[in-house]
Amino acid sequence: MNFVAYLVPALFLSLFAYAALRRVKLYDTFLDGVKEALPLVVRIFPYLAVIFLLTALFERSGLAHMLTEALAPFFRLCGIPPEIAALVLIKPFSGSGSTAVLSDLLATYGPDSYIARCASVAYGSSETVFYLSAVYFAGKKKKLLRPVLIALCANFLGVVFGCFLCRFL
């Protein structure tokens, strides 16, 4: 059932066996890699923190709810059930937030209903765009608007297509 569960130990085992055969100093090499972990997290932390502060404000102020209500007719027009609008809106901001919304939808409508299937596809076919842009481009002098807009558009169209597919598949 869980393919990743077997994949990860298999990957590590085969790599370490191969590296040992090639006489790589396993302990020292692995340690060298781990040394980079803390600086990396320190580097991306400020960007993560700001994204999370803004996301919390967006959700807690009721702004997210208002936006969901306002966009419901537009979502219906695109063939996305308005019940999953909140999920589609939260997903770019927050992975844990959208996981909670998906669990709610599965429980409320039953996991095999059309709405829950659409929600599952919407969740699985998109990513946390704002979080990723903060992490990938942390500390870079770069205009982020273009790649972020492109990713958001592509994800939204993917969700529209996914909801359309859920009617047949």
């Binding site: 090639r22 790589v24 972020v148 993917g158």
Partner: protein
């Protein structure tokens, strides 16, 4: 931010700081779990490099990656390749450090296009098997938890292809404007 602040002033002035602190706390907790994930995967990828296996894998995929990203930087392409593979397999936390390393090198050689492309590929989700969704559906008592596999795969393929198309189009438009 301003809109949210205004809404808090009208309704729940005490909730403003509470919401921001909650966000900060989430960021702190997430950073710690990212730290543990990065320890594991940065160690893993360092061994992959030292064993010479990374170079072999890159030699295999380099021709495709070179054309896709329009880059000659072997090391950047190797990181990008690792990032894409980890994304496809859905290894939690593994794509990010490799993606950051690749974006760093792409931007250092002034290749904004490659950085955008790698970001858009990651941000439109490449995961072949939506494991989180399947386990959530299983937990909710679904009779066919992996039923959504095919539509998800098609939808995510569509969004990634569209994303790549948009990045290429944006590059073309910018070029036209630069050379009038």
């Amino acid at each position: 931010m301003l809109l949210a602040g205004g809404l808090f002033l009208l309704g729940d002035p005490e909730g403003f700081l509470a919401a921001m602190l909650e966000g900060g706390q989430k960021a702190a907790v997430l950073s710690l779990s990212l730290l543990s994930l990065y320890c594991v995967w940065l160690g893993f990828f360092r061994v992959l490099e030292a064993s010479g296996l990374a170079r072999k894998l890159t030699a295999f995929s380099a021709p495709i990656l070179k054309r896709l990203f329009r880059s000659e930087d072997e090391e950047a392409l190797s990181h990008a390749g690792n990032n894409l593979t980890a994304n496809l397999l859905g290894l939690p936390g593994a794509p990010t450090p490799e993606g950051i390393a690749a974006v760093d090198r792409f931007l250092a050689e002034g290749n904004d296009f490659a950085a955008d492309l790698l970001f858009v590929l990651g941000a439109t989700s490449l995961q072949l098997l939506p494991t989180t969704v399947i386990s959530l559906r299983l937990a909710a008592g679904s009779s066919a938890p992996s039923d959504i596999f095919l539509p998800t795969l098609l939808a995510t393929a569509a969004s990634s292809l569209l994303g790549v198309l948009f990045v290429f189009l944006a590059r073309k438009l910018l070029r036209k404007r630069a050379v009038p």
